[in-house]
Symmetry: C2
Subunit: 311 residues, 2 copies
């Protein structure tokens, strides 16, 4: 199968490249390298079944040529803004990098007759709720532009899937951690402690409690869902049904760095406006499909810290 992967040089996208190549697919990866990094796919460059194109998904003329020449069988759309706080400061970030890229990719697929689509969605589409989240949960009330951009994308994906007969797989992730990440709580804590090994300032009260999933685990889950779910439109929660508190992450980072730093909490129940302090996943649908994360949330966090420290 000739697969196009957008955001192919990004955190999750580059791991997906590794996994899709291992499955024997021919791969074209696109990335504008705004958030993605060429280092993430450096080991793949020059391979027979791998092509990298530095391009922006919103450049319609260039993208039409790529779709015309590529004759892709499937698109994995990973390109998106991934920094929730950045999107809160400027709504154009999630509007352009997340929503508009999705809408444009759908339009290219419609125009060039590509009939299979994967989309990386998120727990952030639900907004703030203490209920257990499953695929059919409502209402959907995102509290961040990041979540809004993903929900807006899902809206048009749903309509395109039915109207233009595009078979679709959507998986909704919680926090994803592991090699090649570029931001997030573990990344922040390590950088802060490298600057000041004596004290770690933690946004909020440390009680925020969410599921974390190890990136290679997640990528295995994505491929399992695409290979095993056969409906015209497939939506799956994907991640871990265990959770980790921010104060546990702080303690693990300090321990793995061999420090004895004091932790200072800024207070309040969340890290920033748009942060969802607590949520949990119902994974019974994907479990029934035969997939379960190999690592718990705590194990994923520990592993990500160790990898980030080069252990």
């Amino acid at each position: 199968m000739h697969v196009l992967i957008t955001g192919g040089a990004g955190f999750i996208g580059s791991h997906l490249c590794d996994a899709l190549l291992a499955k024997g697919h021919k791969l074209t990866a696109i990335d504008n390298l705004v958030l993605g990094r060429k280092e993430n796919i450096f080991h793949l460059l020059g391979g027979n079944d791998f092509e990298f194109i530095e391009e922006d998904l919103l450049h319609e003329k260039a993208m039409r040529d790529i779709f015309k020449n590529g004759k892709f069988d499937m698109v994995y759309h990973l390109a998106a803004n991934s920094d929730i706080q950045k999107g809160g400061k400027d709504p154009m970030v999630d509007y352009n990098l997340t929503f508009n890229t999705t809408f444009h990719v759908l339009q290219y697929m419609k125009e060039f007759g590509v009939k299979k689509f994967f989309f990386a969605s998120t727990s952030a589409i639900y907004g703030e709720t203490y209920d257990v989240l499953d695929e059919d949960y409502g209402p959907l009330r995102p509290v961040s532009n990041y979540g809004a951009g993903k929900l807006a994308s899902e809206a048009f994906i749903s309509a395109f899937s039915l109207t233009y007969q595009i078979q679709t797989w959507i998986t909704r992730f919680p926090n994803v951690v592991g090699e090649r990440f570029t931001h997030g709580v573990i990344y922040d804590f390590i950088h802060k402690l490298q600057k000041n090994p004596a004290e770690l300032v933690v946004l909020g009260n440390g009680e925020q409690c969410k599921p974390y999933v190890y990136v290679k685990d997640l990528v295995a889950g994505i491929l399992h869902v695409v290979e095993h779910a056969t409906d015209p439109y497939n939506v799956y929660m994907l991640g871990s049904d265990t959770r980790t508190k921010v104060k546990e992450i702080a303690a693990m980072v300090i321990e793995e760095m061999g420090l004895e730093a004091k932790i200072k909490y800024t207070g309040g129940d969340r890290g920033w406006a748009g942060d969802v302090p607590e949520f949990r996943y119902d994974l019974s649908k994907v479990n029934r499909l035969g997939w379960k994360a190999a690592y718990t949330s705590n194990e994923s966090v520990r592993l990500a810290i160790q990898k980030a420290l080069g252990k």
Copy 2:
């Protein structure tokens, strides 16, 4: 209160102008007259408290001037594509006229500090389901670009409301009928019968069954919700909990036109790709707020037919 109403020369928007002026508000109506018609607001032009501006919401420079000079207290955002079938043929229609207008209006409000927002949403965000629809229902899986554009709008409205403290009222309508409509099943049937009074061709099998609400009834409901709902973010189903079948509408149109036309059904359970053949509303939330439609669905349809025929 100085109110800006977008799509103010449109079907529902122009009735909302009438109602807001009757409440004593100062009104600025904007419309690009692509779908709206100046005739709809002709009777309001020259009034002391009414200003009409022909402008496109996507013209950022002109719109910034309007927001800067207007110092609006609240925005009623009615501008949108309203033709579901048209949006199925070209996704850019709902992308631009529905989603992009909403996103731009939200950006202008954020920039110029307007803190109250009303949005006209729709049953089409839910997609195809035989369940009874309420405000918290999930999943949301629109089957038309029309529904996608409205859901994508709601996604960013939700995020903007929380992130930038904009008090928000959203009402979700079923089919709306009455004076000044420009398309829809009643409009189509009358036009078809004017061309051929002997036979009426009906798309589908006539069994499609949905709630219809009379436009002036709906507008009264909108104002009731905005005046009585006091949360930072208010979502209400608005319409009728009774329903009307397409074959009943066909019979009423023929009867009101004094014809004896034969009805010919094209067959199938829906009128077109993206049509939702059947749905019903749970209106208990808005009922608890003290509002109930004055007319049943059948009465609304009959009234709309009579008004369209100049009775």
